[in-house]
């Protein structure tokens, strides 16, 4: 019985001590160092315009629908996509009728918007929802297919738009890790700044 009491005391005390060290000191220490060393990143990599308004985070995608903008991937986050408080994917499986119909509609819309042939293959990322619903990137191929439409809508040369695409492209880390992607929010902001 005494041994049991000793163990109960140890269990309760350990939980409380750990709560202080692991849940108090540890995150606060990480916070303290990162606020000094990586302030912008620790605060969400926010993009702030001249008058101090937050326009987004360079890590998070936003919805774009107008012809003057590059379009992000479809998104299943929230009712209208890219809901920052409701991240997630569609979770629809390979034999889902709903997913099949959605992809069919998106392919037709993409071909119309970008002026592609009725049989042209469409980049997979342009017609599928990402895992987070906040994917900031599109594939380079997807961006290049949208370049002509954006250039026309903005009366810019396609070369100029392609330059901006290249400037907003994230290369694989260390040259080999991960895939290249074009940051849509940064690219669209660069376009707005270029006009």
């Amino acid at each position: 019985m005494k041994a049991l009491f000793t163990d109960i005391r140890a269990a309760v005390v350990a939980t409380l001590v750990f709560a202080v060290v692991l849940c108090g000191l540890y995150p606060v220490a990480v916070w303290g160092v990162s606020q000094i060393a990586f302030k912008r990143k620790a605060d969400g990599s926010l993009i702030v315009d001249k008058d101090g308004t937050v326009r987004g985070s360079s890590l998070l995608g936003q919805v774009f629908a107008g012809e003057k903008y590059f379009h992000s991937r479809p998104s299943a986050a929230g009712a209208f996509g890219y809901d920052g408080a409701s991240s997630g994917g569609s979770n629809l499986g390979p034999t889902s009728q709903k997913l099949n119909d959605a992809i069919k509609d998106r392919i037709a819309a993409y071909r119309t918007t970008e002026g592609l042939a009725a049989t042209a293959a469409v980049p997979a990322d342009a017609v599928t929802a990402s895992g987070s619903g906040l994917d900031p990137h599109i594939s380079v191929k997807n961006a290049e297919l949208q370049a002509a439409r954006v250039a026309k809508a903005r009366s810019l040369s396609v070369e100029k738009v392609k330059e901006l695409i290249a400037a907003s492209t994230t290369k694989p880390d260390l040259g080999i890790l991960g895939d290249a992607g074009v940051n849509v929010l940064e690219l669209n902001l660069a376009l707005d700044a270029a006009k």
């Binding site: 005390v13 919805v63 629809l92 990402s130």
Partner: protein, 603 residues
């Protein structure tokens, strides 16, 4: 697979092999009650203070029953602690979003989930948990459940290494030392690296961004009492609205993500887990996260070899794990890269593979690799949505869990799970040659094999039993997001994940429905308890039996537990038992779905 995919894969396995030995040696120092480490000057005072507050004599060792009882009591206190915080989070500090307390069954499910190192999440983090709940109620278990797993593994290894003894170490000492010397310092450095990649770490309330391009949308019109307005035909009336804002999640994320990976917990800060750009911003953060999931589990095989004074045995176990792992990755990546023929017939570029539920920055290969790692280990963090994988691509993570998560496995849990298979492999080898089976000089007898089998059968019973119940019940079918065989896979995956203490999901499944039906939350909670504790108790009994045995010197007829023969036998045992138990169920889910996909059948 592209050439860069092979390079990344080789880099991953190479780096893992490189850190296994130094980290394994460090583990021998941490898991020795009087061991010396280079962190002693900083941490020793904290360790001493903790012991004195706990009223602990750190040189007093425990037998298997005392050790197990201490572990169970600690876990019980942990469940209650978290349950109470979650129920009353609206009364507690650090809740800038004013989130309400959780329902009783969701709080039960979550408390059990984090205590058992599962981190199944029936909720979306950003819309449910206050900063206090994330930081205290959940993060504490990310550390302690990992430390408990490592402690149990250490006790079992001592049971194998010691001869004619009675004690297996002291649970409290193992728990405290693992937490302070291993998890805490590594996480601190890791968390800072993650912030440098872009993971947030602050205590601000959520930011609001003004959208670059406001969006015109249609929403259901609400009346004064917040009910949808319907027209004469009963259809909801829609009205135009302009979306101008995006919420940006904030909070102490990096500190939690570091331990969620290193401790193979896997519980995300936000709903999308490691797919969310804040939890996993770059391919580099992704790579290091993957490495950290495997780091400790891999090093524990070195610890095993060191402790039983047979390093070749440790490496043979590691090799068996790695071969199973490589096989899983290659199958998963192959089918994800091949993509979905149904969607390709619609016009999706075939070369792009299956991108539904995947992030552009990770692409096909890093998503497949992550999925296999997170399920081979009992981590459960996801950087892509397994529910949207192709049929066979999704079978791989499911099968990895059902093998018992012994391919590196959860921290500690992977090693003690694999050692059960080692005992069985030795037993089978003994039967084949007609000798009394021996493991490292100790006779494996009826009691040992019974305990080993018990720990495996319990898992099988929980996974298949609960899945069978769910798929003939209204509450089970109501939670599905997909119809046809994929719906069955969602249920099978849920109970495999809960029982295996993994925590990943075919996340379309709604376990916490809006109508408040508690069945999923409660049954999944019970499955997690079974998978954790009904596995640990027989394993500790096995350790208690092994530690008492005498060691007989090796003879010409001794079956060596190192080398290629042993590795192949061990792989065979793992696969055979996994396959025999679960192939019929898998045939009804992903396997039939694979053939239906090829035939273009939709549900």
């Amino acid at each position: 697979m592209h050439s860069t995919d092979w390079l990344q894969f080789a880099l991953f396995i190479g780096l893992l092999a490189l850190i296994t030995k130094p980290l394994g040696i460090y583990l021998t120092q941490v898991l020795d009650a009087n061991g010396k480490t280079w962190l002693d000057p900083v941490i020793r005072p904290l360790e001493r203070l903790t012991y004195s507050l706990m009223g602990l004599d750190r040189n007093k060792e425990q037998g298997w029953k005392q050790y197990t009882l201490a572990m169970l009591l600690f876990s019980l206190v942990g469940v209650l602690f978290t349950y109470l915080i979650l129920r009353f989070q609206h009364l507690l500090p650090l809740n800038p979003q004013h989130l309400p307390g959780l329902s009783d069954h969701l709080a039960f499910n979550t408390a059990v989930s984090f205590t058992t190192n599962t981190n199944w999440q029936s909720y979306g983090g950003e819309s449910t948990m206050s900063y206090f709940s994330q930081m205290v109620a959940l993060t504490i278990h990310n550390f302690t459940s990992a430390a408990v797993g490592i402690s149990i593994a250490a006790a079992l290894v001592r049971g194998i290494a010691r001869a004619s003894a009675t004690t297996l170490g002291n649970f409290w000492v193992d728990l405290v030392r693992t937490t302070y010397y291993l998890l805490l310092p590594f996480c601190f450095v890791f968390a800072l690296f993650l912030v440098s990649q872009g993971i947030v770490q602050n205590f601000k309330s959520y930011d609001t961004a003004k959208l670059v391009e406001p969006q015109a949308v249609q929403v259901a019109k609400m009346d004064a009492s917040n009910q949808p307005v319907v027209d004469a035909a009963g259809k909801p009336v829609m009205e135009d609205k302009t979306l101008t804002e995006q919420a940006i999640v904030q909070g102490p994320m990096a500190s939690q993500v570091a331990i969620k990976m290193l401790g193979t917990n896997g519980g995300g800060y936000v709903n999308a887990n490691a797919a969310h750009p804040f939890e996993n911003p770059t391919p580099l953060s992704n790579f290091v996260q993957m490495l950290s999931i495997f780091a400790i589990g891999s090093a524990l095989t070195y610890y095993l070899g060191r402790m039983v004074k047979n390093q070749a045995h440790g490496w043979a176990v590691w090799a068996a794990m790695m071969l199973l792992f490589v096989g899983g990755v290659l199958v998963c990546a192959h089918f994800e890269a091949a993509g979905n023929p149904i969607h390709q017939a619609l016009g999706v570029a075939a070369a792009d593979g299956n991108m539904e539920g995947k992030e552009v920055r990770f692409g096909i290969f890093n998503s497949s690799l992550f999925a296999t790692i997170t399920t081979a280990a009992s981590c459960g963090a996801v950087n892509s949505m397994h529910d949207s994988f192709t049929a066979i691509g999704g079978l791989v993570p499911l099968f990895m869990i059902e093998l018992g998560e012994v391919v590196i496995g959860g921290v500690g849990a992977g090693l003690y799970g694999m050692l059960v298979f080692v005992v069985l492999a030795v037993f089978i080898a003994g039967l084949m040659v007609g000798r009394t089976p021996e493991y490292l000089g100790k006779k494996i007898q009826a009691y040992d094999v019974k305990m080993a089998m018990l720990s495996l059968l319990v898992l099988c019973m929980s996974i298949l039993g609960f899945t069978a119940w769910a798929c003939v019940s209204d509450w089970g079918l109501a939670g599905l997001n997909n119809a046809g065989p994929h719906g069955f896979s969602e249920m099978l995956y849920a109970y495999s994940s809960a029982t295996g203490n993994n925590g990943s999901a075919f996340a379309g499944l709604t376990a916490n429905p809006a109508n408040g039906d508690p069945h999923y939350n409660v049954t999944l909670g019970i499955a997690m308890l079974i998978g954790r504790f009904l596995m640990i108790v027989p394993i500790m009994a096995l350790a208690g039996s092994l530690v008492q045995k005498k060691v007989s010197p090796p003879s010409a007829g001794t079956f060596p537990v190192s080398g290629a023969t042993f590795t192949i036998l061990l792989i065979g045992t793992v696969v055979l038992i996994g396959a025999l138990n679960f192939l019929p169920a898998l045939a009804l889910g992903p396997i039939v779905e694979h053939f239906l996909t090829a035939g273009g059948k939709l549900f």
